[in-house]
Amino acid sequence: MELTAEKKLWMYRKMYEIRCFELEVDKLFKANMIWGTCHLSVGEEATAVGAIAALKEDDMITSTHRGHGHCIAKGGKLPRMFAELLGKETGYCRGRGGSMHIADIETGNLGANGIVGGGIPIATGAALASKMKKDGKVTLCFFGDGANNQGVFHESLNIASLWKLPVVYVCENNQYGMSVAFKKSTAAENVADRAAAYNMPGEIVDGNDVEAIYFAVKKAVDRARRGEGPSLIEAKTYRWLGHSKSDANVYRTKEEIEEWKERCPIKRYRAKLVEEGVATEEELDKIEKEVEREIQEAIEYAKNSPEPSVEDIADGVYA
């Protein structure tokens, strides 16, 4: 298994896109242009990108409340994402969903989810549909370390393994379920250890190493596509910013945060790409400039988009 230079550069671009997107969202939030709350994935870009890079275009994903990165990596359009966060009619959910519910069924993104663990049986069901339809698709199910203590996580993994469903469970273990440290919430040492209980492979991977994630998920996706059943992958990573917008970080130290920032997945990958001769510093700078421009254009699009009409408030409750 080798990664092409094209794929490597795609992964770099997508991680950078996510980083810029999240930081711009943070600014827009502070400027009171985003309503409600949002959960940012700065520092966790590699898990979203590395995992989704292992999928085919029409494979499916389910995402989490911290889902902007998954959506971008799955091919989500930045203008429509910003528009959704600004509550606009042109957003992915016509301004009805906001940050926690961005979905794009057409591109196989079955949606972010405001309920911790809520997407796990949905991904499992999508995989059952693929098995029944024999459409060859695999579903990638993202969830956080907090979700691994929800009952439905255990119910779903048991069933997926029993029925050999084409689903890959990717736990983004960012060390905290809101404020509670992983060690304080989970009796197992690792989330991946729990795979043994469901008779499926469990693998721990460096969640800040985009290629390591790619290879681990690719192996699991290939296995799922061959009809051999699900896998559980635990990507150990860290969120740099607070849980949501009201977080004063009282449960962790500045030193710990700084330590993880040293392991920045984007900085690391940039150094690797230059060292391997995949791209020069100048070429990577050019990619970054392009992304920054696209982000600004997307924000402009969102700002200039119309508000949803109150007359249509009840649209879409029923099909």
Binding site: G91, P121, I122, S130, M132, I159, A319
Partner: protein, 325 residues
């Protein structure tokens, strides 16, 4: 037209939809070789195989969530939850996911799924296997709620529910399974959201749902002997609720009793009552709107206590007479 049991008519409806559309499949606890706790799915696994009649582990939340995911991905799952009471275990997936997904995703996703569940008391199963609370589900935007009372209705409505592109909760009173009624040989579908006048009358309107339709009809027979002419309306679906048929009836009779199997306090009968008094039927009322329903207690085990926990025929007879006093 043949006489069939409710359970047979329901099974026929499921079978016809399984034959008609390969996207339809059933999943639930003990629905395969065992045929379901009440025997609804008996014989289906032999005909359609384990791929489409799927026995699941005892994991209500995952089963329901799997149905949501399969529905979003293009299938048309029908879940059996063994007892209505167990729906509480599946609430997140049914309410926060299944019912809300379409709206919160901007009207794009479709969630064509049915959740069937046997409800009601009268079998001595006590508090955790006997409650009827379809009215609770009618409170949630995005769900439809159906509660057929006759073999004819259950067949036509299960077919409509399966063909609907929204999540549908299908409430089956377990005492109805063994009730007989006429079912046409030819195919038919009953649209959701249409009430049915089960008995025409001019003195009093009784709006009753599910098992209470049968009790209301029996009460009407008794009252007829005393010269009281009762009209019985069965909403058939709580959501969408056909208020027009009810309002038209009340305008004709001027008196209305609402009978539900749910606990009466905060029950769907209050919604119907409010719909009546808030409509033009208010001017036609000759007596206050009256409601009967379950007591505000968990269902007790002792048969005599159990019987008194929900309205019986004699309670309906008495309530109608009170209305005419």
């Amino acid at each position: 037209m043949a006489e069939k049991l409710y359970i047979e008519a329901l099974r026929e409806g499921l079978r016809e939809e399984l034959l008609r559309d390969e996207r339809v499949f059933l999943l639930g606890e003990d629905i395969g070789i065992y045929g379901g706790a009440f025997g609804v799915t008996k014989g289906l696994v032999q005909e359609f195989g384990e791929e489409r009649i799927i026995d699941t582990p005892i994991s209500e939340q995952a089963i329901t969530g799997i149905a949501v995911g399969a529905a979003v991905a293009g299938m048309r799952p029908v879940v059996e939850i063994m007892f209505f009471d167990f729906l509480t275990l599946a609430m997140d997936q049914l309410i926060n996911q299944g019912a809300k997904i379409r709206y919160m995703f901007g009207g794009k996703a479709k969630v064509p799924m049915v959740v069937r569940a046997p409800m009601g008391c009268g079998t001595g199963a006590a508090a955790q296997h006997s409650q009827s609370f379809p009215g609770v589900f009618a409170h949630f935007p995005g769900l439809k709620v159906v509660m057929p009372s006759t073999p004819y209705d259950v067949k036509g409505l299960i077919k409509a529910a399966i063909r609907d592109d929204n999540p549908v909760l299908f409430a089956e009173h377990k005492l109805l399974y063994r009730v007989k009624g006429e079912v046409p040989d030819e195919e038919y579908v009953i649209p959701l959201g249409k009430a049915d006048v089960k008995r025409k009358g001019k003195d009093v309107t009784v709006v009753a749902g599910s098992i209470m339709v049968l009790r209301a009809l029996e009460a009407a027979e008794e009252l007829e002997k005393e010269g009281i002419d009762v009209e019985v309306i069965d909403p058939r679906t709580l959501k969408p609720l056909d208020m027009k048929t009810i309002i038209d009836s009340v305008k004709k009779t001027g008196r209305v009793l609402i009978v539900e199997d749910d606990p009466v306090s905060f029950g769907w009968g209050a919604e119907v009552a409010a719909g009546i008094v808030g409509s033009e039927a208010f001017d036609y009322l000759d007596a206050p709107v009256k409601r009967l329903g379950g007591l505000d207690i968990p269902i007790p085990y002792n048969p005599n206590l159990e019987r008194h926990a929900v309205p019986q025929v004699e309670d309906i007879v008495k309530a109608v007479k009170d209305l005419l006093r």
